[in-house]
């Protein structure tokens, strides 16, 4: 499988083939429902997100707490379509990549094409397996949201399939 490295440039995105599996390496942001809602409400009110999303890849996940001695708890993907209403705004504000599971709305697919983004899926329900691909994890914003806080995750050879790209 081909290895790819974050952050992804527009040129990197163009080189990805839909249907192709890749191993993702580097730093991404972990965020899901509540964080998306808060970021987008902020952007609409003219507030900057608590962490920059420019050039970033967001992994839709809400990890389990880590056991002592582990880096992170189980951390599989959550259903991407719940993030659909917020995605076009994030892409417009510089987000490049998304990793989750399941189909996206037509609105999201056209926003991906328009802004040159990319959507990957990974293996839902394989949270224990995927946790072994995470090399560091920290909460970087919205700590009050508990499992829905924004995490900074460093991954090594994290498997994902290219679903749609700009």
């Amino acid at each position: 499988m081909k290895k790819i490295y974050l952050p992804l440039t527009k040129v990197d995105v163009k080189r990805l083939k839909p249907g192709e599996w890749v191993l993702i390496n580097g730093f991404l942001l972990g965020a899901r429902d509540a964080a998306h809602k808060r970021i987008v409400e902020g952007l609409k009110a003219g507030k900057r997100p608590p962490v920059s999303i420019k050039g970033e890849t967001i992994y839709y996940t809400g990890p389990a707490p880590k056991r002592p001695g582990e880096i992170i708890g189980s951390c599989g993907p959550t259903t991407s379509s719940r993030m659909d209403p917020f995605t076009a705004t994030l892409l417009k504000n510089g987000l490049v990549g998304m990793i989750g599971k399941g189909e996206r709305s037509e609105e999201v697919i056209s926003a991906i094409k328009k802004y040159g983004g990319v959507y990957f899926i990974t293996i839902g329900g394989a949270g224990a397996y995927l946790s072994q691909k995470v090399k560091s994890a920290n909460v970087v914003a919205y700590g009050d949201l508990g499992p829905e806080a924004i995490h900074r995750l460093e991954v090594r050879d994290f498997p994902a399939m290219v679903c749609a790209r700009g």
């Binding site: 599996w21 509540a34 996940t61 809400g62 990890p63 389990a64 707490p65 880590k66 056991r67 582990e70 708890g73 189980s74 951390c75 599989g76 959550t78 259903t79 379509s81 599971k101 399941g102 189909e103 899926i121 293996i123 839902g124 329900g125 394989a126 949270g127 224990a128 397996y129 946790s131 072994q132 949201l145 508990g146 499992p147 829905e148 498997p159 399939m161």
Partner: protein, 280 residues
């Protein structure tokens, strides 16, 4: 003769069952996944089934939850009518759930109010079902179900004159519409009959039945087999990468119903179908 059971035993049992269900994949589910890997012809689908099987062994070995979505915990009790529980039964169940989620480092996914949405940080409350049955024993069962698959559940009140083929179409359509969101290969629980709530609760309970064990009613068994075949022709496949194994099994429960109605509920359970039980 009555039998007295201390609520501490209920607490301990619920705690153990929650830990076990979240960490150790059911034997029947694991065997069904292994059989699916043998049967699946696509290389990618085979590989994904391999990762799902590896996930189960990593979880067991490292005591990690099989999936980070450790659900809103459902606890089912069948209480023998000769049993007297010493102490508060409901509190003991909830304490067992909370303790397991703390000790197991499981995610707390429950919000106190569906509209205000503040996390309770304990995974409480649990969903508790209690039935009174003859005898001196208590059967405890827990079901851990993530919301990726829970959100794809469907209910329809059919006309009584609509028959089996309409119901089958509805089930197949529900699975098609769910796509890869419920984490296929899935296990399908279906409730037919009763009232709206009875059909839904049967569709949940159907998931406790071991995969591969069909209904004892010949016409229902026939439906289970026909549905499994139709669903596996949808070509959704493991994780949605296409393939011949979209579902591992179909389990239907039925109940008498009203002359004017035919309620049907479809409950899709992910490949991490997690339940555990013990009788005390």
């Amino acid at each position: 003769m009555t039998r007295t059971v201390d609520n501490r035993l209920i607490f301990e049992t619920v705690k153990r069952l929650c830990l076990k269900a979240n960490i150790e994949l059911r034997e029947d589910v694991l065997s069904a996944l292994k059989a699916a890997r043998r049967k699946e012809t696509g290389a990618r689908a085979k590989e994904i089934l391999g990762i799902i099987i590896e996930n189960a062994s990593i979880a067991k070995e490292k005591k990690l939850p099989i999936c980070q979505d450790t659900g809103m915990t459902a606890v089912y009790l069948d209480i023998g009518q000769s049993v007297i529980v010493k102490g508060d039964l409901r509190k003991a169940i909830e304490k067992g759930v909370a303790q397991a989620y703390k000790e197991g480092y499981f995610r707390k996914s429950v919000v106190a109010d569906p509209l205000i949405r503040k996390n309770t940080n304990t995974n409480l409350p649990a969903i508790i079902h209690m039935e009174s049955v003859p005898g001196r024993r208590i059967r405890l069962r827990v079901m851990i179900k993530g919301f990726g698959c829970e959100n794809t559940s469907k209910t329809r009140m059919f006309r009584p004159t609509e028959g089996i083929s309409k119901i089958e179409d509805f089930v197949v359509e529900s699975v098609r519409e769910a796509g890869s969101r419920p984490c296929p290969p899935v296990y399908i629980g279906i409730g037919i009959g009763g009232t709206l709530d009875k059909a839904v609760s049967m569709s949940k309970e159907a998931i406790f039945r071991p995969i591969g064990k069909n209904s004892g009613k010949p016409h229902v068994k026939k439906m289970e087999k026909a549905l499994l075949e139709k669903i596996n022709r949808l070509n959704i496949g493991p994780a949605g990468v296409k393939g011949g194994i979209t579902a591992l099994g179909v389990s239907i429960l039925t109940y008498p119903t009203h002359i004017a109605g035919l309620p049907v509920a479809v409950n899709i359970s992910c490949h991490a179908t997690r339940t555990a039980e013990k009788t005390i």
